[in-house]
């Protein structure tokens, strides 16, 4: 089990979702991924993508000082 991080800053949706999707394809069930985004829409879109594809959202948070929006997910069993 691993935890990885991807930088999606300056990318507009759906690019952060695409980055997350492509990274998750390389990971294993149970692995965790933290996506650092600057498009606030990522806080809706990445969790929506997780829900429809069977991954668990562990955390969403925004760091307004840094202008960052962070989503942490755990890769689902059926991936």
């Amino acid at each position: 089990m691993s935890r990885q991080r991807i930088d999606c800053s300056r990318l507009l949706c759906p690019m952060p979702v695409i980055r997350v999707q492509d990274k998750v394809a390389e990971l294993h069930p149970g692995d965790e991924l933290e996506a650092i985004c600057t498009d606030p829409g990522a806080l809706n879109d990445i969790p929506a993508w997780c829900r429809i594809n069977g991954h668990e959202v562990l955390e969403t948070r925004s760091d307004s000082d840094a202008g960052e929006y962070i989503v942490v997910l755990r890769v689902g069993e059926d991936s």
């Binding site: 949706c13 695409i18 429809i52």
Partner: protein, 347 residues
Amino acid sequence: MSRQRKAVALISGGLDSLLAVRVIQQQGIEVEGINFFTGFCVEGHTHAIRKKDQKKPKRNNALWAAEQLGIKLHIIDIVDEYKDVVINPRHGYGANLNPCLDCKVFMVQKAREWMEQKGFDFIITGEVVGQRPMSQRKETLPVVQRESGIDDRLLRPLCAKNLPETLPEREGWVDREGLYDFSGRSRKPQFALAKQFGFEDYAQPAGGCCFLTDERYSVKLSDLWQHRGEKRYDLDDIMLLKVGRHIRPADHFKVIVAREEGEGNFLQGYRKQFISLKTTSHGGPLALIDGEASTADIELAARIVARYSQGRDAPQVELEVSDHGAGPERLTVVPLAASEVREEWVL
């Protein structure tokens, strides 16, 4: 026992693809969705950029549609490969720079490759005969089938009864009687079916699914190609065309002026790639200069930016000019009068 048949659906996020999927799901077919990101999608970007649009909660309609339908959605980045479709469309453009027929062929071809790789059986789309002038005419639907190589593995559930039988129907995977015969531009049958299925709050994009159908956008893209001397673009170019006022006072440079705070923040991310200008004596927009600008050009650009600042009627406006992130240097100019911003400069 017969194998569970699987279809891949082209999901735009609009009502038609939503309905097409539900029709096929009701026939016991397993469906997954594909959504293509070309860089020109209306979806998301302007919404993400423009602050005033952010009051409504933002959603990605393709993801929303997939969630309503309970299907997986694969978003595929085709930005690079799609350039050839936009630059050299074999079937030409529509009313603006929208190469809809080539675009459809390309997307169905990409979906076919995906389908073959993943062991799916056929493709579905939400197309309706006669709905769009270029890509959904009765004569052009077979072109998509032929040129994409999908042939009769492409099923259009909303208008299938107006079209020849497809493989999924012949093989009995799908019952033709459960499909529809919609045609033409009226959306009433779709609204009625949406109601029957209990879909509310679905997206209704006007015009089309991408910026290439937009006249103003197409003018800016043509201008970019013309002044670059060739039809070429990268993702940053086409993103910047979605943002700000584009003003070209001379062939060799144009000024991109943010229209509001969100656009200013977005342009801020490009300050290291361009000369940027920002008013300091008065509230005003951030602007970029795209092209090779001399000192006199920068001064003219500064006067234009001052025109769009709160100092437009002041005798002088002070700005900071930063050259590809370096500097900044200070510049004081007289704002251009409204009559001095020539109509033909504004793209």
